[in-house]
Subunit: 461 residues, 2 copies
């Protein structure tokens, strides 16, 4: 890799200034005022790829366009789909930016701009690495397909509609997907995110008497929908923090001993974590650590609740109705629809006399995990160690990245989440930044990844 | 009484239109937006009494003003304190009113308005009866003192502060108190209410993280204040409908066998009751009938709850805080302060790590039972039989009239609860109403009461 890394070092300043051109385009996908800029960003990315010599297309969608490009076939070697997004979050509040969001500025080793890390900067590392391979070696050891969308911050409607089509599925067929849109575990400690949780959400509506009743005249004999709601919701979770719905854990993919050992080795301070959140205690499922609870165990969280009187003082009523919105975070193999059925049965068994129950099933996505034993994970790990000079740790993420689930479902693709960002990069906030050393390490890791994935051991895997 | 009843019949329409004037004043005591209207209602009542020829005062308090008025002394006859309130409950939800709450409207023999029965309409029957006596006979057979407050729906701070003063106690000295702020047993079946439940109210506020958190990134490890609130509230009541706070039932005055037999004889249809409320099932404390649960057993009702996202769709957060307002109805001998202490201790024992708890003790009143053997009860029973054409039954009431307890404590006064309302009057709910026939029967019963109380048998009792 010496020739490649030398090329990347030599052309580092050029890559930085190329990225700055893209960052200067205000491609705010959610705001129609900026839709001209969104298209300009798509065209900039497409033009950059074309100049690299890639077969490139701007694909129109029901939303903002996709940029697609591919390198030539490499018989016997894997095909890699690289996903990223060229759109950015709105920049407001503008007055809190030290330098304007669309005037990329270097300060203290960082590049400041909206989209610096989420996701233009991280996405660009893969463009730069392919560019470097093509310049230094003339061709890549794997086939790379780029699919860069422009609506990640606005619901990804266009890409989801596109990948549902058989023609798109054929075109995008690959062995593994790579996304750089996450974080390192900490400064100088790169990470591979190998698991994401799923989600299933509900709204539970309980109706009692046809209107609010006087709690003196009727209290004690008429079932109170708010009391009933609290009772039913409380019953979902036991004192040990475990969900009490029969069958809830049946399909849960357990943490392996190796995973738990690796998670235990991560430097994570519960004190700092609590201080950051302003709390003085933690709770969760018995028998699991805080990181395990956040990343690899299912949850039950009430997201909102209301019923009865919310104003000043008090009002002595039995409210006529009560509503709660809640979500379960799921782990791989738990199926949202199966959980929904079990929940509904459980709630019916609890619903007291005099209460009408309505359960609205809102949305769902399965959790995903790439087995740590996967040769792709091993290849990515070696590549990152070469790019960063330090082996990555293996982490999971408690949230969902809907496109990863969509790729798994629609394209039968596992995804490697190789994040070059940092927790304090201010994504979605003023003064978003990307550490420039991480930018260059990301390019090198990406360059090394093509080599690692092209090694004979992965051929045809 | 023929002359009096004839006068009342003749002037019925005038009394109705007088009452409508008072009902049009939005005297919502709990909401500071309406405080100008509250004073306007006090002034209206005072002006009405002045025009009747009573010695009238507007007494300023630490809260809303009291209206005081008295008829001349009647040597050798008892003095009767008539209490009522000119304030009303908040009218929301406004969109459920068929006609606006402060535009009194007659429909199907009822008068619809906030306060129609609770308590402007019922209170007004005594003004109208005194007015009738003064017009038809020139003077009353007893001395009547009116004390009408404006904070009954908001904790009665002003009147409680006032009656604690020795000068007020001298001024209010009476032989018996009369209050019409309760219900008949059913349409055409008047009742004397001999027992009231007490009440103690709280607001429980739970705070978790310093701001709403992403439920994916943090869910499972950070205590969710809404989950915690549901768990804590659900723990207050057991599956058997009994309150689980240690010591809660220690001081409960049990129902006597005789009372239970009498209650069992009352014509009460659970089917009709459910149909009237629009529910298809009842629940409550195991081992007690519906009437016993409503009148003579303590309760726990959540009156309002909120936390997190209440808008359309969902929002995947761990809310930063959650709040519930709730009340316990108490029975005679249970002490609100003792219950509050036991509750606080119980909640602290349940409060999970990572949650800050604040319990606000809102207001309290003890339950009361009036001796059925009193000659005043017999006099009231005869008066009601004359006004309604039917003898009253003796019942209890699930609501609280804290002032009854205060009068017993501060003025050593027993209270006759002579209710002209009906169960389905929608007090504290949209479309509150008062049956107009009951309004006129109430005026006649009140007029007959002054005669019954003025009979020699009661002199000096």
């Amino acid at each position: 890799m010496d020739d490649l890394f030398a090329y990347i070092d030599q052309h580092g300043p050029q890559f930085e200034s190329d990225l700055c051109e893209l960052l200067a385009i205000a491609s705010v996908s959610a705001d129609s005022k900026f839709h001209g800029e969104v298209r300009r960003a798509a065209q900039w990315v497409a033009e950059y790829m074309r100049r690299m010599g890639l077969a490139t297309e701007l694909i129109e969608t029901i939303g903002h366009p996709l940029v697609y490009a591919e390198t030539p076939d490499v018989p016997g070697a894997p095909t890699v789909l690289v996903y990223g997004h060229y759109d950015v979050q709105p920049p407001d509040p503008l007055d809190q930016w030290i330098t304007p969001p669309f005037e990329p500025t270097k300060r203290n080793g960082n590049l400041y701009a909206r989209g610096a890390t989420d996701d233009k900067g991280q996405m660009f590392t893969h463009l730069a690495s392919v560019h470097s391979w093509l310049k230094a070696r003339g061709k890549l050891p794997v086939k790379v397909k780029f699919l860069i969308e422009g609506e990640e911050e606005w619901g990804s409607k266009g890409i989801n509609d596109y990948i549902a089509r058989p023609a798109a599925q054929t075109k995008l067929k690959s062995d593994i997907c790579v996304i750089s849109d996450t974080c390192q575990f900490g400064p100088g400690q790169p990470a591979i995110t190998y698991g994401l949780r799923g989600i299933v959400g509900f709204e539970l509506r309980l109706t009692g008497p046809k209107q609010d009743l006087h709690s003196g005249t009727f209290g004690g004999a008429v079932t109170n929908p708010v009391n009933a709601l609290c009772m039913m919701l409380a019953a979902i979770r036991g004192d040990d923090g475990r969900v009490q719905i029969p069958g809830f854990y049946d399909d849960v993919l357990p943490l392996t001993d190796r995973e738990r050992q690796q998670l235990a080795k991560l430097r994570f301070s519960e004190d700092n974590f609590q201080q950051q959140l302003g709390i003085s205690g933690l709770s969760g499922e018995a028998g699991f650590t805080t990181l395990e609870r956040r990343w690899a165990r299912p949850t039950f969280d009430i997201n909102g609740i209301y019923g009865g009187y919310q104003g000043e003082g008090g009002k002595t009523i039995i409210p006529a109705k009560a509503v709660a919105k809640f979500t379960f975070r799921l782990v791989p193999r738990q199926e949202p629809d199966k959980i929904a059925k079990a929940l509904e049965q459980f709630l019916w068994s609890l619903c007291p006399p005099g209460i009408k129950m309505e359960l609205v099933h809102q949305h769902g996505a399965q959790g995903v995990v790439v087995p740590l034993e996967s040769p792709y994970v091993a290849a990515a790990s070696r590549a990152i160690e070469r790019g960063f000079g330090k082996a990555p740790v293996f982490i999971r993420e408690g949230g969902s990245i809907p496109i990863v689930t969509a790729f798994a479902k629609k394209l039968s693709l596992d995804t490697l989440l190789l994040g070059w960002g940092l927790d304090d990069d201010n994504t979605h906030s003023p003064n978003e930044k990307f550490n420039l050393a991480d930018f260059h390490r990301g390019i090198k890791s990406s360059a090394a990844l093509w080599e690692e994935l092209g090694k004979p051991s992965l051929a045809g895997s």
